[in-house]
């Protein structure tokens, strides 16, 4: 008989594993009979699990036996640990980046020359949810105004905004009564970022007992913006808020980047002791995913794109992130 025949010849009653000797080149996938193959696979899996358990026990015993001299526990692999190293990661001491940031479009903001003034608008014919979301967003971002767009072309709005001293323009795109896109444009010919927005929660949908955000200027937390691209996006977000937060208000707006998803949260914090702080979520929350970053202001046809998310090229690896 052939390699697998020892098992086939048996009458359906499975042989005990000790009795049957499989040749070393045998693999479970070679059995043609599906039922039998499935059964053998399950048995193989059980064996693997047993071995794994035994190995674990042994390791634990060894660790206990060694006591203090045991080697430190192995760090479990996470996606963040295994992240493919991005060569554009910004080193905190990088001079070139520092110089770039001193001379880019946000320099006037960071030098306290300009005060942010933000215009929030939507796509045509916004539905109720989007309208409410815009209002809440305008309470979160100080010095912001909501204007309805009645069929006006963005290209014509932008020069008017610049004339009226607006520094930023936010356009919330909605689809089927749900906001799903955000275009953030820094106005005096600044970069334009286009995001896909998801899981938008209005204030009444958040489970919390906080009151509305007050008029105080919130602090800003930007987490995890490591690469060069992430830095520019982070600066864009930072330039939305006035530079001097009012600590009395105890409000904080967080943009947290995790695996290319930017989570926005708005909290009120209180320090219970110097080791403990309590936070209470007010304000809307949403997640953004960057789709494209354009050098000038919003221009879909002739714009110069600094970065576009190309699905085929960029989504190939699960451990590679761009922000």
């Amino acid at each position: 008989g052939g390699p697998g025949e020892g098992s086939v010849v048996e009458d359906g009653a499975p042989p005990a594993p000790e009795r049957v000797l499989f040749p070393p080149t045998f693999s479970v996938s070679e059995i043609k009979n599906k039922q039998r193959r499935h059964f053998m696979f399950l048995r193989w899996k059980q064996q693997q699990r047993k071995e794994k358990l035994a190995a674990k026990k042994k390791r634990r015993k060894e660790r206990e036996a060694l006591g203090d001299k045991a080697p430190p526990k192995a760090i479990p692999k996470t996606i963040e640990n295994q992240r493919v190293y991005d060569e554009t990661t910004v080193d905190p001491n990088d001079e070139e980046v520092a110089f770039d940031e001193a001379t880019d479009e946000f320099a006037p903001y960071f030098n306290r020359q300009t005060v942010p003034k933000i215009l929030i608008t939507t796509s045509d014919r916004p539905r109720g949810r989007t309208v409410r979301f815009c209002e809440q967003l305008s309470t979160v971002i100080p010095n912001s105004h909501v204007y309805y767009r009645r069929g006006l072309a963005l290209k014509r709005i932008i020069p008017q905004c610049i004339a009226r001293d607006f520094t930023d323009l936010i356009v919330i795109n909605e689809d089927r009564n749900v906001p799903n896109g955000l275009v953030l444009s820094h106005l005096p010919d600044g970069p334009t970022a286009h995001f896909r927005m998801s899981s938008v929660r209005l204030r009444k949908e958040i489970k919390r007992k906080g009151k509305e955000p007050t008029e105080h200027v919130p602090e800003v937390i930007l987490n995890n913006f490591t690469t060069r691209l992430g830095h520019s996006v982070g600066r864009m977000f930072a330039s939305l808020f006035p530079h001097d937060p009012q600590f009395i208000g105890r409000q904080v707006a967080t943009f947290h980047n995790q695996r290319d998803y930017i989570f926005f949260r708005f909290h009120r914090y209180i320090f219970k002791s110097e080791k403990k702080v309590g936070i209470q979520e007010l304000g809307p929350r949403f997640t953004l995913k960057l789709r494209s970053l354009q050098k000038g202001t919003f221009d879909s046809k002739f714009g110069e794109y600094e970065w576009i998310h190309k699905r085929r090229e960029m989504d190939t690896s699960r451990r590679k992130f761009h922000l």
Binding site: G151, F247, D260, Y261, Y269, S273
Partner: protein
């Protein structure tokens, strides 16, 4: 003959162009003038018939006469109508002179409707068009799943709390929050650093003495810490109700937005600790010196 055609197709037997709904019958034939399935609007059941159709923005008048009924290829005669609305109406009248009133009237009506919608198309193309981008189901699902996992991995609350505590440590808040234990620890660490640097130059015994002294100092202050804390806590228990009331007032007033006034009143422990700080800090400093 047309009557026979109507009797079979229209009324009784099957006509493939006919669509029936609950209230009406429609005719799908592209030469139909009104779109309904009627004896007078059926192009198959009328030997003399005319329609208006538009192709690429130009309107044509199609006519069918009984003389050409035997020649299907030449059956429908087509006339291009002028772009000018009134002129086109006149042309319709000319071509359909001596034709039954119904067909003439319906042709003009149809022509009007067609020109109106052509005008609207031209206007709309000048405005901004909404571009429909199809969603890809797999990709949407993937993105959603990845977002959930990223949310779990982010541990947002912890990250925010950590960041806030970091900022507190680095004194970005300045003098607003007075946590004396924190400051005390800092002072202690400074003392330890100074005494360590001194003891490195001296012998070990002296180091030990210094260590003992230091420990003694710390223990003493710690005890005094706890004593005071206990006293204050007991006193605070008595005053708890008042403070609770104060807190409630604070919360109520905060709801009206007067946070700056009630800020320090909300936190009872720091308030108490401030008193303690003024008493003992100078004493510890003298001991160390």
């Amino acid at each position: 003959s047309p009557q026979v055609v109507w009797d079979t197709l229209g009324n009784r037997q099957f006509c493939s162009y006919k669509i029936t709904t609950k209230t009406q019958n429609f005719c799908r034939n592209e030469y139909n003038l009104t779109g309904l399935c009627n004896r007078s609007s059926c192009p198959l059941a009328n030997s003399q018939y005319a329609t208006i159709r538009e192709e690429k923005g130009r309107c044509y008048l199609y006519m069918k006469t009984i003389e050409r009924a035997a020649f299907p290829r030449r059956l429908w005669e087509r006339v291009l109508l002028s772009k000018n609305y009134e002129k086109a109406l006149e042309e319709i009248d000319e071509n359909l002179i001596y034709w039954p009133r119904f067909i003439r009237h319906k042709c003009k009506q149809r022509f009007t409707k067609i020109t109106q919608y052509l005008i609207r198309i031209r206007k709309l193309t000048l405005k901004r068009q909404r571009k429909l981008v199809p969603l890809r189901r797999k990709i949407e699902r993937r993105e959603k799943r990845r977002e959930e996992k990223a949310l779990v991995a982010a541990q947002l609350d912890n990250a925010i709390e950590k960041e806030l505590l970091e900022r507190l440590k680095q004194d970005t808040y300045g003098d607003i929050y007075n946590f004396p234990i924190h400051a005390f620890d800092k002072a202690l660490q400074q003392q330890e650093a100074e005494s360590e640097s001194e003891s490195e130059a001296e012998k070990e015994e002296e180091e030990d003495e210094d260590v003992d002294k230091r420990e003694f100092v710390e223990a003493d202050s710690d005890l005094s810490d706890f004593e005071d804390m206990d006293k204050l806590e007991t006193s605070s228990e008595e005053e708890q109700e008042e403070e609770a009331e104060v807190e409630k007032k604070a919360k109520n007033s905060k709801s009206k937005g007067k946070t700056p006034l009630k800020g320090p009143a909300r936190r009872k422990r720091p308030y108490i600790e401030i008193e303690y700080e003024e008493e003992t800090e100078p004493s510890t400093k003298t001991k160390a010196a």
